[in-house]
């Protein structure tokens, strides 16, 4: 019990479970999964599909945050990606052909990769602060997306493209398979190679890393490029979901959701140690939260209040102070007379200094 409580994913997972319970109470069949035409259906499957784009964006965001950066432009990149792909499909003579669709996807992904490279250039070469560097693309990117679609919502009918949004593979939604697959691959690469450690070193102490021979600039650059690419992929999933490219609203505020997912997952925004499994849980929490609002039937007027309270609850429970309290409480009175100093490995800047 004690170890469980101490685990860094305890509270995020607890939040997820609590939300699922709340949903099940409001709608008893919530967790039911049915099989229809060999596909799985049901709210949990919906949630997996809803999580997919957010998970991709949060994945890129985690890596960027590890290097002490932040990427505000992902929402705009999502919009650009959808706009490019759908405009290409819409303007092609044969929207139903897989070749067209693959070309559209490749086009969108390459462009988004370039947008990421652009961000990386501003941050790592010109040395502009990440928040401002990516604010530029956040503003202009949506303009570009609107330019591509002429401000209208571009709609297409293309079965191969629709597969991305509502297709199934091995009974699971294709979008979820793609996102969770990419996530697993990246997590594997990052943790099985030295990439993760080098990223963390760059985030914790850039000067020391540079002197240790870490190619910090290249790494930083790569990470922004990756964030762009993943956002592009997310953009494709989002536009395939409704088969429409909405330059104004696609991916709106997804950067905030992604950052929130990263933070709920226990990665500090100050860079350094990151936690991809936490990000996964964080993304699931946020997607479930969105669903909860509808299922539990919270009035739109208080929805933001409700979101705020959940976020505050999760973050407060995760805070070192609360952890220490709870740890002390679960440890029981018998062991020591004076409560030992809380060890807060979770906060990089606070271990040496006790704030009382």
């Amino acid at each position: 019990m004690r170890n469980l409580l101490r685990h860094h994913l305890f509270w995020p997972v607890a939040a997820l479970v609590a939300l699922l319970v709340a949903n099940t109470v409001a709608s008893p069949s919530f967790l039911a999964i049915t099989v229809r035409d060999g596909h799985l259906f049901g709210a949990p499957i919906d949630i997996l599909r809803m999580t997919a784009p957010l998970l991709l964006v949060a994945l890129g965001m985690t890596l960027v945050i590890a290097t002490r950066g932040i990427d505000l432009s992902v929402g705009a990149v999502v919009a650009v990606s959808g706009a490019v792909a759908l405009s290409y499909i819409a303007s092609s003579s044969d929207p139903e052909s897989p070749v067209t669709v693959l070309t559209a996807i490749a086009l969108a992904l390459v462009l988004c990769l370039l947008l990421g490279v652009w961000n990386g250039f501003l941050v790592s070469v010109l040395g502009i602060q990440p928040i401002i560097a990516t604010l530029i693309l956040m503003t202009a990117g949506r303009g570009v997306a609107m330019l591509i679609t002429g401000g209208m919502i571009t709609t297409v009918n293309s079965a191969p493209f629709k597969v991305l949004g509502s297709g199934f593979w091995l009974g699971l939604p294709v979008a979820a398979v793609i996102a969770f697959g990419v996530f697993a691959v990246v997590a594997f690469v990052v943790r099985r190679t030295a990439l993760g450690m080098l990223l963390e070193a760059t985030g914790i102490n850039p000067a020391a890393s540079r002197l240790s021979g870490v190619r910090s600039k290249t790494l930083t650059w790569t990470v922004y490029a990756a964030a762009g690419l993943f956002a592009g992929l997310a953009g494709l999933l989002i536009s395939a979901d409704t088969m429409a490219a909405d330059a104004n609203n696609a991916g709106l505020f997804i950067e905030l959701d992604a950052i929130l997912a990263v933070v709920i997952g226990g990665t500090a925004l100050s860079g350094g140690k990151f936690n991809l499994s936490g990000t996964l849980v964080g993304a699931l929490v946020i997607a479930t939260l969105e669903r909860t609002v509808t299922v539990v039937g919270i009035s739109p007027l208080v929805t933001p209040l409700f979101m705020a309270l959940v976020v505050i609850a999760v973050t407060l429970l995760q805070s070192p102070r609360m952890r220490a309290r709870l740890a002390a409480a679960t440890r029981g009175p018998a062991t020591t007379t004076t409560p030992p100093e809380p060890q807060s490995a979770a906060r990089p800047d606070s271990t040496e200094v006790k704030a009382r």
Binding site: L135, V144, G151, L305, L316, P320
Partner: protein, 332 residues
């Protein structure tokens, strides 16, 4: 300034007699701002006129106040994402209470105080619970916005006579105009400047941003300072809401969406580092003027479609940041 010429003068660091490096980003901002005015003036008629410059201040008075508050928080190494929502909350509270017939003398402190209270909550979360500022204030942002909806989803007009007369007070000097909002904003800037540079609290704000742990080991009151910085920012957001309510004579729950980004951008453009510890309030004011000027240029251009507007804002921002960067790199 030292009293006697020391024997070890040869080892003393040679202080450059030129401008202090710390002021470079601000000077960079100023130079580029001036350049923009010159370029704008040569492109459009009437661009560099007292009326346009006065309007620049009148239209951005609330943002100036937000930026001053944001500067405090960013200097401590934090960030406050809630200011846009808190501003909206303040406008809604003000408008709703005035509509309910409360006197302005009671309503105004309540509107501003709402911001103070939320700021205090942020400070407590950030310092005592060690919630990351981004998250704490993001929660605050949802919270304030939610509260707005609960109080009044629809926009409320303000027609309280004394409030309106306060709001429409204008002083005219030739072509120049100064509204009550601008006057308040300038006073806030002045206070912000004095507090940051001439009080222990102000210097501790810088110290905390320079290194929280160091500041703590130096025996400075880190806790109080950090909490107070968020209180300042919240109060400024509340005051910004008051100014916006005066400016628009209404309260509306959807006001100021994404305005926190404008405030942050202004502060950063003004040369403050997001990592904390370096920056100036006056820089932030320049930052606000830059953003305002970009908007003015867009209006004067008069032919941009919606998307080109966004793209041009992005490009101007880029040119600005790049130029500023080049200027400050050159000199160092």
């Amino acid at each position: 300034m030292t009293t006697s010429a020391p024997a070890r003068a040869s080892r003393a660091l040679k202080i450059p007699t030129r401008l202090d490096r710390r002021y470079l980003p601000v000077v960079g901002t100023f130079v580029v701002l001036a350049l923009m005015l010159v370029v704008g003036g040569s492109r459009y008629d009437n661009f560099v006129s007292p009326a346009v410059i006065s309007n620049l201040f009148i239209n951005n008075a609330h943002l100036i106040v937000l930026a001053v508050g944001m500067t405090f928080v960013i200097l401590t190494g934090g960030i406050d994402l809630s200011v846009g929502s808190v501003l909206a909350l303040s406008t809604v509270v003000t408008a709703a209470l005035l509509q309910a017939g409360w006197p302005p003398a009671v309503v105004i402190p309540l509107g501003v105080g709402a911001g103070t209270v939320i700021g205090l909550a942020h400070g407590v979360m950030v310092h005592y619970f060690q919630v990351q500022p981004f998250v704490a204030t993001l929660a605050g942002m949802f919270f304030a916005r939610g509260l707005c909806f609960v109080i009044a989803p629809e926009s409320i007009a303000i027609d309280n006579a004394s409030f309106v007369s306060l709001a429409s007070w204008v002083q005219i000097f030739g072509g120049w105009r100064m509204s009550s909002g601008v006057l308040i904003a300038l006073i806030v800037v002045g206070i912000g400047f004095l507090v940051l540079h001439f009080t222990r609290f102000g210097r501790t704000v810088y110290a905390v941003g320079g290194g929280e742990q160091s500041a703590l080991l130096m025996g400075l009151p880190v806790a109080r300072t950090k909490v107070l910085a968020y209180v300042v920012s919240g109060t400024c957001a509340g005051l910004g809401g008051l100014l916006f309510a005066m400016y628009s004579r209404s309260g509306y729950s959807l006001t100021g969406v994404a305005m926190e980004l404008d405030a942050i951008a202004a502060v950063v453009i003004g040369g403050t580092l997001l990592t904390g510890g370096t920056g100036f309030v006056l820089g932030s004011v320049l930052g606000v003027l830059v953003l305002g000027l970009i908007q003015t240029i867009i209006t004067f251009e008069g032919t941009l479609s919606s998307w080109w507007t966004k793209i041009v804002i992005g490009v101007l921002l880029l040119i600005f940041v790049a130029l500023q960067r080049v200027l400050s790199l050159r000199r160092t």
